[in-house]
């Protein structure tokens, strides 16, 4: 990248990148179910961030900016797919529609991981050991249920049962942190 930044150095930009890029990618991947498009979403958000780098002030500003761009990109993509599927693929249409609505309700605190992280860790620690192991493998090691079943020497059905239990538990423990319908925060205001 050519030239000096006015407010942040190249190293700082890179560290922002390292911190938030994977999370934006994750957001795209979960809602769009497509890794290439997820990368595109994350890249776009950072291209935009680069363009306004001179007017960046604080970190929460940056977070909101990145999240808003990525979220809107995902929403547009889902809307487009929804329109494409509406007449000839009902399942796809419903899938896109409900994912659109789900993402639309997600608030900008998504990137503020540290606060929620503790709560999640706390909630996870309340799970049974097997259940916790399954959840960790799925969450941090990106393994499929089949792979988890093989490495724990249990059936896929058992893995699924543990995942179901873990999710139910988390939902109960974290109900205060569940998203509420929010007006899209405009980072510029």
């Amino acid at each position: 990248m050519a030239g000096e930044l006015k407010n942040i150095s190249n190293e700082e930009f890179r560290s922002i990148f390292d911190q938030y890029y994977p999370m934006l990618f994750h957001l795209g991947k979960e809602y769009l179910q497509d890794e290439d498009e997820a990368k595109e979403v994350a890249q776009n958000a950072f291209v935009k961030l680069w363009e306004i780098r001179e007017s960046l002030s604080n970190e929460s500003n940056i977070r909101n900016f990145l999240y808003t761009i990525a979220k809107n990109n995902c929403l547009n993509c889902l809307k487009r797919r929804e329109v494409l599927a509406v007449h000839h693929d009902r399942m796809k249409y419903l899938e896109m529609h409900f994912n659109y609505e789900a993402l639309n309700r997600m608030d900008h605190q998504y990137l503020e991981f540290s606060e929620l992280k503790e709560k999640i860790e706390e909630a996870i620690s309340g799970l049974s050991e097997n259940c916790r192991r399954v959840f960790y493998m799925s969450r941090f090691e990106d393994k499929s249920n089949k792979e988890i079943a093989a490495s724990l020497n249990v059936t896929v059905k058992t893995v699924e049962a543990h995942m179901t239990k873990a999710l139910k538990h988390l939902r109960k423990e974290l109900k205060d942190y569940l998203p509420v319908l929010l007006v899209i925060t405009n980072f510029l205001n």
């Binding site: 990248m1 050519a2 890179r14 990148f17 390292d18 890029y21 994977p22 999370m23 990618f25 994750h26 957001l27 979960e30 809602y31 890794e35 990368k39 994350a42 890249q43 950072f46 291209v47 935009k48 680069w50 363009e51 547009n76 487009r80 329109v83 494409l84 399942m91 419903l94 899938e95 409900f98 994912n99 609505e101 789900a102 309700r105 997600m106 998504y110 991981f113 929620l116 992280k117 999640i120 799925s138 969450r139 941090f140 090691e141 990106d142 499929s144 249920n145 699924e160 049962a161 995942m163 179901t164 873990a166 999710l167 139910k168 988390l170 939902r171 974290l174 942190y177 569940l178 998203p179």
Partner: protein
Amino acid sequence: MSDELLSKILSGTASEEEKRAYYEEVATDESFQEEFYQTKSLWVRATAGRKETKLNLDEEYRNLKEKVSGMKKTGIRSLTRIWIGRAAMIAVLLSVGWLAHQLWSPGKQPVDFTQQFASSIGSISQMTLPDGTQIWLNSGSKVVYHETSKERNVQLVGEACFDVAHDEEHPFSVQTENMVVRDLGTRFNVRAYPSDEVTETTLIEGSAEILSGNNLKRICELKPGELAVYDKAKKRMSIQEIDPSTIVAWMDGKFVFRNEKLADICDELEKWYGVRFRFADDVIKDYRYTANIKRTTSISYVLKMLNITTHLHYSIQENKMEPDIITISTEK
């Protein structure tokens, strides 16, 4: 509502059947919808710290750097792996306006603007228009994109594949020498080389209609997997079913021929390798062959394979200023 099904959906392990069952059920009740919205968000958050094994951050950062450095502002991304060793075949950006647009007004679309792209012989380029539409441009092709507050229009010479960002308020159409293809939410391939006898339109996804180039009257509507062939001399249109993957194989850097006439195969090779074919006998033209060839394969190797597998012979006449001429015959 089954928790098990929901957890399968969220972890991406549900089958198509299970997905169908789940989403149909969600559609019946608002409280199910609310449950899905909340649990999905929770899941996405709870899994946000996971190690993204498929992500190479250094590589992603390099991509970003390339995107924001001046060169890549053009919006053209050449598929480098395809033209290794073919230094002269770089896609050319023609429009300075587009550059200016990308540099100084990110995110804002001017009401009325035009931009041009071209790819030279032996290269494939890909570009993304400001509206998100993606265009892949095959060898020796050119597009002129024009956008107004009411519509989006592309003029095409050569072959291109379009993945259109659908926008009902701004219809998207592709204009060729003889006809117009109008998008109704779509991915389609148009092949309109002036040297060809026919213009071909293949619909890959969505729907599209073909209009007459003269009076914009609707000629036909295409369904996915249909190929419309317009005979320029006879002024006639016919529709056939086809496997679109063979049509768009060029985008993956492949030639795919399925029981095609040698004349048509050579025609395709001419467009890529910049050579001319001659046939010692017209009968040879109608011989039919099936082949898969990578576009990085050299023409001399392609000819060698032709010779080995078909017993046809070839001779090459090298020309300095003009394309080399390859003559195909049944005898040595």
